[in-house]
Point group: C2
Chain length 421, copies 2
């Protein structure tokens, strides 16, 4: 029987959907795995918008990585950021100075928001990409209503009660719907000098329609559902600037208390550490077995990589793509270590693409079938609860959602700092 | 019928147990109430130690003030800190510059930790007094275990896995028990290079026994219960210094990854704004009707005030004291506005004093009866869930506790920052 020291070594960087699935597929196999992340928790990013709008708590959608993989004795967890990769010597260096040798390296560090060449906008328009971002958005939203309540100036009140969401993809649509419900229901009766139901929520999309990745009937449905919630949907107009006071769109200034970004993503900066030639979005180009083109023994997956589908177009940046790639890669690597054969090509199976507009309103696209409305919304909720890692999270989130559904209330309306201005 | 403008005006500063109870007692009465707090939430401070040890999430023990008092149309909520009180002109000035006129002022701003003339210790030894503190302690505890896991030095590993808790009152005892359970159970199997069950937890009390406010048999029981959990209880020894590396106690250095403060409290600085002569702990001296001695139309209550009991000793700094005082004052003020008579004296009714050591182990002192062990623990849990404001919080906390009881797991093991060292 092989000792741990002569087992093949796999280092996985990133414990998102892809990295975690890869580690789990290697769990219990004759392989020494080290899973590296800069956080101690795996984050269920698709529900971050609910933390940003006070519907869920951070711990509801985060779970300690050690807890998830703790039962696999062959998986070690290392916390830290990767500062360099020596692909010749096959070593990864971490921020704490330690070095991890590998036989195979899997990089799955995901993506971050891209501000289209305007990094200065990030300060004024956070996007729901990390728990810190989500908490920042939550504080900004709630603080704006508090400021409006004490403002003696009607125009200033209107501005503070205006939320602009940039980008009409799933994130933007979900944020817009959720902010509208927060203002129209959860906050509705809690103020004396303002009426939160008069809050303006404006969704701005530069392209001709929102949810451009979905079939047109679903985009139309989402637009109508948002408008029913009181959201103003603007299409074909691009945001030209963002500052502390609001945005300028198509030459027009919109004053806003809160601006939220959901417009574009780019690959995580770790992609640049691998020595491969990146595409325009900063993504790593892959071979069909997810190995990085031109770099030996290094694999990449998820949002940071560009995997062509059967027609040659890159697969979308979705949790299900990363999770399928991770699970495939873990299984394929374990098999290849055992039989010495090369990895088979990865194949993506579309499990359906979904976005939620609000209570009783969601869209689902399975390619061969489309769903919308109440039934899609129930399916969305069931699937998202099912996908949450850990029974305790599932039970908590189910309880939160049931409570919110029955009462229109939100449990996490916390501004985490002293209110001094 | 009186218009809102000629109703008597009551300003309440602080939405803790006392201020909130006072506001609720005035809810719906012919009085204009403004409730001022620097946070937008009421915090259930007695359970903060559970947030600090990853058992509960911040939102589980916090509830928006607006939500709690939202149904009373005569209560307005103002967020901000009080910067000055003009007792002659009867006006309170807030940090945002606004001024609130009052007919009666109720100050209930509570207490904060006192480091016995060593404010520099606060940096190294936070105490569970705010959500920020609790999150800081949680991050420090979890980060220390992560650092120990990657440390090559056995002595350093031992130091990182040592937690020192200063102060053997209820807070110190509860923290010590909860840290011990975190290490012995929740973290037990999640590391590869360290065994968290070997973690040292040291509780240091300067006096002759822990839980000095309880009868001696309960102190003895708590000490034995803590020792059973693996906590080292040191009495009759005072902490002489605290720094980033640990503490010095009775000339002996103890290296520690985490130091937690629970030793002493002092009145909130707002007490000094009232112009009254404060006692040695900075507390406001009160008349039997809770009016501040020597200051007209100003009342104080809770931890920041000194109320003599029937034997002349000050009432302890407990949530139940503040809550009873607040409810009494709200009712008495409403009655006094109506009939013009002076307020009757406040009478405290002891509902029982309690502290929890850990699973199945708590103490209860009702004066005429003492309880300890499993039954006291069940009562503690039932009463704390009952006292949580809001049905949703109750349901969530019950679920969390049931889950933790069955699995020994903790749901909120989040380190809220990048792990870089």
């Amino acid at each position: 029987m092989p000792t741990p020291d002569n087992l093949p070594r796999v280092v996985i960087v990133g414990a998102g959907f892809g990295g975690l699935a890869c580690a789990q597929a290697l769990g219990g196999k004759p392989v020494q795995v080290t899973l590296v992340d800069r956080r101690n928790y795996h984050l269920f990013v698709p529900l971050l918008y609910q933390v940003a709008t006070a519907a869920l708590s951070p711990a509801d959608i985060a779970r300690p990585i050690r807890r998830i993989v703790g039962r696999y004795k062959n998986i070690e967890v290392a916390l830290g950021t990767v500062t360099s990769v020596d692909t010749a010597a096959r070593r990864v260096r971490l921020s704490n100075g330690s070095e991890l040798p590998y036989d195979k390296l899997v990089v799955a560090t995901g993506s971050e928001y891209s501000y289209f060449g305007h990094p200065e906008w990030a300060e004024f328009a956070p996007g729901p990409r990390s728990l810190e971002d989500a908490r920042r958005i939550r504080a900004q939203l709630l603080t704006s209503f508090e400021r409006a309540e004490v403002s003696p100036d009607a125009a200033r009140q209107d501005a503070l009660m205006t939320t602009v969401i940039v980008g009409g993809g799933p994130t933007g649509v979900e944020m817009a719907g959720s902010v509208a419900e927060l203002a129209r229901h959860a906050l509705a009766r809690d103020f004396r000098n303002i009426d939160p139901r008069r809050a303006k929520i404006i969704l701005i999309e530069a392209g001709p329609r929102i949810l451009a990745g979905f079939p047109e009937p679903l985009s139309d449905y989402a637009k109508r559902a948002l408008e029913k919630l009181g959201v103003t949907v603007i299409t074909n107009e691009a945001v030209e600037s963002i500052d502390a006071k609001g945005v300028v769109v198509a030459g027009r200034r919109i004053d806003a208390g809160t601006v939220i970004w959901g417009a574009g993503i780019k690959a995580s900066p770790a992609a640049a550490l691998l020595g491969a030639t990146l595409d325009r979005a900063g993504r790593v180009p892959l071979n069909p077995d997810l190995s990085v083109k031109g770099v030996a023994d290094v694999y990449a997956l998820g949002d940071m990589a560009s995997t062509p589908d059967e027609h040659g177009a890159p697969l979308p940046a979705l949790a299900q793509v990363a999770a399928q790639q991770g699970a495939y890669l873990g299984r394929a690597l374990a098999k290849s270590f055992a039989d010495g054969k090369p990895l088979p090509p990865f194949k993506f199976h579309n499990r359906g693409n979904t976005a939620i507009v609000g209570r009783n309103a969601a869209v689902f696209d399975f390619g061969w079938m489309q769903l919308k409305g109440w039934f899609a919304w129930v399916m969305w909720a069931l699937i998202h609860v099912y996908l949450l890692v850990g029974f305790d999270n599932r039970a908590r989130v189910t309880l939160q959602w049931l409570w919110a559904y029955l009462t229109y209330q939100r449990g996490a309306r916390l501004i985490m700092r002293d209110f001094d201005s």
